[in-house]
């Protein structure tokens, strides 16, 4: 990039015009740097640099060979994260918010001709299309790679939801409903959302905070078994693995390196941190 000149060149003989041009160029260069850096920042060699800092990079692997599409993960996630109960009518209108849900995906992982039931949570892309377009930074990527959502800042424009190629961000069409005494069994670690904001899978980020507090209290580093999202715990066949992708020894790193591994819509360049394993 051209190095920006001084804002106003006072030495220039022909006075203001050259100064004006230089100021304009400098402003353009500055604007370019401001605009492009955040876009590239998420894409380029960040995971590597963060590995050097010793920060984890949380990721998930879903083994389709083990998954029976029983929806235990969906139910566990809904309870863990205080999701609105919803109704059959809402589900029929496409307004049921389940952060991990089972979708019939055709030609999954490049296999021709078949339709496979696939559990789809937020893919926590390394290059997330939703983060780029958010006008208020309500959706962002945290230093450990989790794509977060600030409910109290979200204006409900639904641009991120439109930009997501996986259709796995959700909008609160109405005030959430918990009939009867359901609300009394809310998870106190997770804030319920209000109508009009976007919500999404956060890899049960509150569990990470709990695990980190516990590890700190015990004066040790966080271990892989300390932080496990609800869907992983609930899966009866152990099809979902979770852990630190920056740690080559972690089980999730090794599974993600398997020859069976693929990612959804890989050629879009979003670089998901959720990998899938093909059926054997």
């Amino acid at each position: 990039m051209r190095s920006p000149g001084p804002l106003v060149d006072t030495r220039a003989g022909d006075g203001t015009r050259r100064g004006f041009l230089k100021a304009g160029l400098a402003a353009l260069a500055g604007g370019w740097a401001l605009l492009v850096r955040p876009v590239r920042g998420a894409a380029a060699s960040e995971p590597e640099s963060r590995a050097a800092e010793g920060l984890p990079r949380w990721g998930m692997v879903i083994d389709l060979d083990r998954c029976t599409a029983c929806q235990s993960c969906t139910a566990a996630c809904a309870v863990e994260n205080n999701q609105s109960l919803g109704s059959v009518a809402e589900a029929a209108r496409g307004r049921l918010n389940r952060w991990i849900h089972i979708v019939a995906v055709p030609d999954v992982g490049g296999e021709r001709g078949g339709v496979r039931l696939v559990p789809i949570p937020c893919q926590h892309c390394e290059n997330p299309p939703c983060v780029k377009v958010c006008p208020t930074s309500a959706t962002y990527m945290n230093p450990e790679g989790i794509v977060g959502q600030v409910y109290s800042r979200c204006i409900g424009c639904r641009y991120c939801v439109n930009a997501c190629p996986y259709t796995c961000k959700y909008f609160n069409w109405s005030e959430p409903k918990w009939p009867g005494d359901m609300a009394e069994s809310h998870n106190p670690d997770v804030s319920p959302r209000e109508k009009g904001v976007v919500e999404k899978c956060l890899f049960c980020h509150h569990r990470l905070q709990r695990a980190r507090d516990r590890a700190r209290a015990e004066g040790r580093r966080i271990r892989e078994a300390d932080y496990v999202p609800a869907c992983v715990t609930a899966c009866p066949t152990g099809a979902i693995g979770f852990g630190d992708l920056n740690d080559p020894e972690s089980s999730v790193s090794q599974m993600a390196g398997s020859p069976r591994a693929f990612r959804l819509l890989e050629d879009l360049g979003t670089r998901p941190k959720v990998a899938y394993l093909r059926e054997r």
Partner: protein, 440 residues
């Protein structure tokens, strides 16, 4: 200033300011007001219940409100684009149209901006876009562009109005009432000295050039909202320029329709003559050709490439569930107006009005055809779902249109509908040319 043409124009432009609205006019305004009030009520209902009351769903997260937004921004292009282009190129036939076109712009922009607010899930947090700006978001670019555009359009409208406000001030100098005060304050002590005229002309030219850039940036950015995503049907480089040319066509169509209506209602026939109508007709035909060229370029490129997710959207438009809006767009924007304007099967005024109406319907359908089919065909296409707007969305859309018409009609009662000072200049130049005197 004794030229009879100028005197007649002054009389015609001042007439709606001097007379009280008749019973027909009051009934018309009342009906529009009711529709707008109904829309406000519907919005209240939506604020209470959330966007649940719309037909939107996952994955069709955007629908009629966003279509309306792009539509109203398109309407606004009548003023700035038409009057700025014609001022810069010094096209003489612009004179009877410029004020009208600028009024259309100012009247449509509030409704364009509020369409987006209506679409928000948390409209009370709209300011977060400025409080917590995220520079990579095309929505932020749009907020910057549109607020600049609104400000400049208002200034442009006002600057062009000053000499005419002074004319009104002199007319109302000895009368009581709010008009006396309004015109006195707003005319900024304009006394029509040669110096004032020279400065005024320079400012108008400068603003015209600046506005031309702004108009292009505004609609390009509206297109970028879609173009910057990676969705099939949205992610195309042509979408910015395509939106600009569409908005220009729509603005011109709107001017054709509203111009013909006002010509009849306000008795402007002596000032908008066959020549003016004919120039507008030619300009519209040219833009129809441009628009068709862009449409064909986009469709052919998509079809020839044949990338599966793109083709899913393509066929849903051409033969699928959105064929009605796609072919409606082709007929409304291009085919029928082209036939009407080129072969003129009826009177020129009727042809301009009909094609103007059709172009506007067609351009609304164009935006609908861009927004909804792409949203309805997600990459994981087993998640596809259709969309039918709800009564709330329909009421708000209709009410917003009524509100626009009402605001435009009220402008007619406050400001002269013809740009009198430009007309005077034109007549003076003609006189100078007739008498062989050099232009001063």
């Amino acid at each position: 200033m004794t030229d009879p043409r100028v005197l007649a124009a002054e009389k015609a432009a001042i007439a709606p300011l001097e007379s009280a609205p008749g019973p027909g006019g009051l009934a018309f305004a009342g009906a529009l007001g009711l529709l707008f009030a109904g829309a406000l009520g519907a919005w209240g209902w939506q604020l209470l219940n959330g966007l649940e009351v719309t037909g939107l769903n996952s994955p069709v997260f955007w629908g009629v409100y966003i279509t309306d937004f792009v539509f109203f921004v398109g309407v606004s292009h009548a003023g700035t684009l038409i009057s700025a282009i014609l001022r810069i190129t010094d096209a003489r036939w612009r004179t009877p149209y410029t004020r009208m076109a600028e009024m259309i712009t100012i009247a449509s922009l509030p409704f364009a901006a509020t369409c987006v607010i209506v679409d928000l899930g948390r409209p009370e947090r709209a300011l977060n876009v400025i409080l917590y700006p995220h520079l990579t978001s095309p929505i932020l670019w749009d907020v910057v562009c549109i607020s600049t555009y609104v400000t400049c359009s208002c200034l442009y409208f006002y600057t062009a109005l000053i000499p005419d406000l002074a004319f009104c001030r002199d007319r109302w100098a000895t009368r009581a009432g709010w008009r006396h005060w309004l015109y006195m304050v707003a005319a900024l002590e304009w006394t029509d000295t040669p110096l004032q005229r020279r400065v005024h002309n320079r400012i108008m030219t400068g603003m015209s050039i600046a506005l031309l850039g702004l108009v292009i940036s505004v609609h390009t950015n509206v297109g970028f909202i879609f173009g910057m995503t990676i969705k099939p049907g949205w992610h195309t480089a042509i979408i910015g320029p395509y939106f600009v040319i569409g908005a220009a066509l729509q603005g011109l169509g709107g001017l054709g329709l509203i111009g013909v209506i006002l010509r009849r209602v306000l008795r402007l026939e002596p000032f908008i003559n066959e020549h003016h109508l004919n120039q507008l007709r030619r300009f519209t035909i040219a833009l129809i050709c441009f628009w068709t060229y862009f449409t064909v370029a986009e469709l052919l490129t998509t079809y020839y490439g044949g990338i599966p997710p793109e083709m899913l959207v393509f066929w849903s438009k051409v033969t699928g569930p959105f064929a009605w809006s796609f072919w409606g767009m082709i007929l409304g924007c291009a085919v029928i107006p082209f036939i009407l304007l080129v072969f003129q099967p009826g009177r020129l005024t009727a042809m301009l009005a009909w094609s103007g109406a059709l172009i506007n319907i067609g351009m609304w359908l164009e935006r609908y055809t861009i927004v909804v089919p792409t949203a309805a065909s997600p990459f994981i296409h087993t998640l596809a779902r259709s969309y039918v707007p709800s009564w709330v969305e329909v009421m708000i859309s209709v009410g917003w249109l009524a509100g626009f018409a009402l605001l435009l009609a009220s402008f007619m009662r406050v400001f002269p509908v013809l740009t009198l000072w430009e007309l005077r200049e034109e007549v003076e130049e003609e006189h100078a040319a007739e008498h062989g005197a050099p232009e001063s």
